[in-house]
């Protein structure tokens, strides 16, 4: 009787890990360390340690479910090995058929948000209404206050779901804007060359 009992009476950290596991299974959205602390009434340090245990246990290739750090929190997902089977059973309406216009709008909101539809339209050069509406419907962006002044336009920002769908730990994982647009300098040089000829 002694042996199994000793096994069951796991050390307190393992007990905490099990509780965290349960919380993560129940939740449909990523849980932050603060969320987990509040639910378990434990301090962040111990929760982080327990999460470390779980990350090992639920690693890619070890288990059918994988614990990942995403959208500023922790969440369980299916392992990539199971993707084909999951795909036969489940749809992914959020990700499906995102148009080029939607992706550009999403990029603008992700980098410049909260921003208004007119601001998006100014950058893209075409009206952004339907692209914005589509993204709101999918839950990738959401309203976030209004521009200052009377009749200020509604501003939009990306949602935690955006980070989750794109597998981002946080928004800081997006590439830096400065690193994008390599050929911008080339365009600028040509424009300036043309301008110089004008003034000459």
């Amino acid at each position: 009787m002694d042996r199994p009992l000793r096994l069951v009476a796991a050390n307190p950290l393992d007990q905490l890990a099990r509780t965290l596991e349960a919380l993560l299974v129940v939740s449909t959205a990523p849980l932050t360390v603060e969320d987990l602390c509040a639910a378990t009434e434990e301090d962040p340090e111990r929760v982080e340690t327990a999460l470390g245990l779980l990350t090992e246990r639920f690693g890619e290739g070890r288990s059918g479910i994988v614990l990942e750090r995403v959208a500023g929190g922790w969440a369980l997902r299916a392992s990539r090995d199971a993707a084909e089977a999951c795909g036969r059973l489940f749809e992914r309406p959020v990700q499906r058929n995102l148009s080029q216009a939607a992706m550009e709008t999403l990029a603008i909101v992700a980098y410049l948000g909260p921003c208004t539809r007119p601001a998006i339209a100014r950058i893209r050069g075409v009206a952004a209404d339907s692209a914005v509406a589509g993204l709101v419907e999918r839950g990738l962006i959401a309203e976030s206050g209004r521009d200052h002044g009377i009749g200020g336009a509604v501003r939009y920002r990306t949602t935690p779901l955006f980070e989750r769908v794109f597998g981002l730990e946080s928004m800081s994982q997006l590439p830096r804007l400065d690193d994008l647009g390599d050929d911008v300098d080339e365009i600028r040089e040509r424009l300036h060359a043309v301008a110089e000829q004008r003034t000459a």
Binding site: T28, V94, A107, G167
Partner: protein
């Protein structure tokens, strides 16, 4: 083909494209009057004269024409004209470059997102409404508790009791009234039905009436009535009926 040397024949301007741009940038030509579509058409015509596509020329033309369009658009919207009117060609080019740069970066950011999404194709996770999101508050119109009390009071009234009296009705036997009428007619030759039955219940009156009909059938009495609903007169029949002719009444009414 050198785009700058493209000869233009427009209503507002005639000469090389190069000169048009210079005049526009120096504000010696009102851009609002220049038909940009016309410039595009003439460029395309020139392009079509050649067998192969001059990509270099196309690229340069696109940049120049878009710059021109940008300037024209700004010229047509006075709100923003102040910002650009003082611009030197260098500055105009810079402004344009800035805009292009902004869009270019966003386009690449979008491309990055597309790639990222493709990489995440095999990541499945559970989705649901964010459980921690605040629930929208359902607002009710202001209510008066007195109105509710009135409504409840109306419901609290005890419903009228359903009468079951008819189930307990007992009918007195017709024979009883036969005897009663006979004994009365022995003493008096004429009776008034209503007067005799005054004070009896409806059921008794009904049974008494049946007894009356029975007596009439046996020719023991004559019945008369002056008018509908007038008092019913009962008269002893002329011929005396012997007691031996008496029959037991056929009319019997039983209670349900």
């Amino acid at each position: 083909m050198i785009v700058r040397e493209l000869e233009l024949g427009l209503d507002a301007f005639e000469g090389p494209f190069d000169l048009l741009l210079t005049l526009v940038l120096k504000e010696e030509l009102e851009l609002a009057e220049v038909d940009v579509a016309g410039i595009v058409l003439q460029f395309i015509e020139r392009l079509a004269e050649r067998d192969e596509l001059d990509l270099e020329a196309c690229g340069e033309f696109l940049i120049l024409v878009s710059a021109l369009l940008e300037l024209k658009a700004r010229g047509l919207f006075p709100d923003e004209s102040a910002e650009l009117s003082e611009l030197e060609p260098e500055e105009a080019a810079e402004e344009l470059a800035r805009r292009l740069e902004e869009y270019r970066r966003m386009k690449e950011a979008a491309a990055w997102l597309v790639e990222r999404l493709a990489d995440e194709r095999d990541r499945f996770f559970r989705l649901g409404p964010a459980p921690l999101a605040p629930q929208p508050e359902r607002r009710l119109a202001q209510q008066d508790p007195e109105t509710l009390a009135v409504a409840l009071r109306a419901l609290a009234v005890e419903p009228p009791r359903v009468s079951l009296a008819h189930m307990e009705l007992t009918y007195p036997p017709v024979a009883q009234f036969l005897e009663r009428f006979r004994s009365m007619l022995r003493r008096r030759s004429v009776l008034d039905f209503d007067t005799e039955l005054a004070g009896s219940s409806r059921v008794e009156q009904a049974v008494a009436f049946l007894a009356l009909l029975e007596l009439r059938r046996a020719n023991e009495i004559a019945i008369s009535q002056a008018a509908p609903f007038a008092p019913i007169r009962i008269r002893r029949a002329e011929q005396e009926i012997s007691s031996s002719n008496e029959r037991t009444p056929r009319w019997t009414v039983h209670s349900g």
